[in-house]
């Protein structure tokens, strides 16, 4: 199979920006709204999600020639559910605080559209290495998106970033940024989650529109310039003939 140069890099980076699962494809919104009260919880969720995505992508890619077309989806769901169960039990054993913070949302990674979507759309058609890179990119992109949501929610909602509550192996510290009494606690509530998500999507749409407009303007100017050149050339020709 011939492949273009830098495919691996492109494959990895597409999950981060161009095809970001949360902000561009709008998939996996439930945990993105529910587990982003604090940056720490978002990081934890992102890591668990990435682990499940990597494992399922690798296994689906390995089995892609064995699993037949008709039983594809149930087979993928069982594979994903198995890895989620493993991750859940491991979290319960090693990071009980993370387990109790995320609660039922660890189990709900099973029905996260991104994992199933990547298995269907990518891992079932590509080799193991590419699927691994794809999973890494998508997982990292999702984690970064979760952190971005949690950053604003924790900053505006509590006025401080606190670490060490969930990942108990690092010393607990708190970074007060907005003075006490000035925080907007609504951002810790569901309504705040919706608002933060809406604003982020709005900003992305704004940037995209801006880019499209610039591109359109450029194309327009190019066309006008070419037309003028053609006119000039035509005028010259007719001038020469006379």
């Amino acid at each position: 199979m011939s492949r273009e140069k830098g495919y691996t890099k492109k494959n990895f980076l597409k999950g981060l920006f161009i095809e970001n699962p949360l902000f561009v494809s709008i998939l996996g919104t439930c945990p993105a709204l529910a587990t982003t009260k604090s940056v720490e919880a978002a990081i934890g969720m992102g890591i668990l999600f990435t682990v499940v995505l990597i494992c399922s992508n690798i296994l689906v890619s390995l089995l892609r020639k064995i699993i037949s077309e008709e039983i594809r989806t149930p087979a993928y769901i069982v594979i994903i559910a198995t890895f989620v169960t493993i991750v859940k039990m491991a979290t319960n054993a090693f990071l009980p605080e993370l387990y109790s913070t995320l609660g039922v949302f660890i189990s709900l990674i099973v029905v996260n559209c991104i994992v199933l979507g990547r298995a269907e759309a990518y891992a079932s058609k590509n080799n193991v290495f590419d699927s691994l890179i794809d999973a890494l990119g998508m997982g990292l992109g999702y984690t970064l998106a979760l952190i971005a949501m949690a950053f604003f929610r924790e900053l505006l909602g509590t006025g401080a970033f606190s670490f060490g509550k969930i990942f108990t192996f690092i010393p607990a510290f708190k970074l007060q940024i907005i003075p006490k009494g000035y925080e907007i606690s609504m951002f810790q509530n569901p309504a705040g989650a919706f608002i933060v998500f809406a604003i982020i999507l709005g900003v992305i749409a704004f940037i995209k529109n801006r880019k499209d407009e610039l591109k359109l303007n450029k194309a327009k100017q190019e066309r006008i310039r070419k037309e003028q050149e053609a006119k000039l050339a035509a005028a010259k020709e007719t001038g020469g003939n006379q």
Binding site: P74, S107, L108, P190, A191, A198
Partner: protein, 199 residues
């Protein structure tokens, strides 16, 4: 009588106070994806009601009478997702037979009920919290009707939003999310509904 009253109260509380979409964040994907038209959101909501209630009725005995005696409680997620996936197939066949037009309008979203977090979330949290069968059923009914209520209300608003003069950057999803935020604030007002009633 006491049992009946607490059953009803549990339904109302999981329907309105702990609303599935606006305060527990289950099922956001169909909530945003299928709410462009009132008809399809109604169909989706009704299908979800079916699936959630059936899944609750099947998953609770499955956990307590099969998984617990066998000592394999850790297999709950795998078992539930299999039950839900087959239920969705069943509901799909049923709708296809009796209402082809609805089947057409739901289109690709019907298989997506499998990946609706609300269904698995309800089944999982029922057994995680160790609820009794009756409370599980109340939770299932309340949650699913709450979902139906919210998705239909939201789609009614969204139909209006389509023709409204919104800023270009906010068109589509962002303005819908702002609407959802306002709805969430409205539902926060119901938080203290039962504080005066002794359960």
């Amino acid at each position: 009588m006491q049992i009946f009253i607490s059953f009803i109260l549990a339904i109302i509380s999981s329907m309105l106070i702990d609303n599935v979409v606006l305060s527990r964040f289950y099922g956001i994907c169909p909530f945003l994806g299928v709410s462009r038209k009132v008809n399809s959101s109604l169909g989706m909501g009704v299908a979800v009601v079916f699936v959630i209630i059936l899944a609750t009725v099947i998953c609770w005995p499955l956990y307590n009478f099969v998984l617990v005696p066998a000592g394999i409680q850790f297999m709950d997620t795998v078992a539930y997702i299999l039950v839900i996936a087959s239920l969705v197939q069943l509901v799909g066949l049923f709708i296809k037979k009796y209402s082809p037009s609805l089947y057409k309008s739901l289109g690709i979203y019907l298989p997506l009920i499998t990946t609706n977090c609300a269904v698995l979330g309800v089944a999982q949290s029922n057994t995680d919290q160790g609820l009794s069968f009756l409370s599980s059923l109340a939770n299932g009914i309340g949650t699913s009707i709450g979902f139906l209520l919210i998705i239909v209300a939201f789609s009614c608003i969204r139909v209006r939003l389509e023709s409204a003069n919104t800023p270009k950057a906010l068109k589509g999803l962002p303005i819908a999310l702002f609407t959802a935020a306002i709805m969430a604030i409205a539902f926060m007002g119901l938080q203290g509904l039962f504080s005066g009633i002794q359960l």
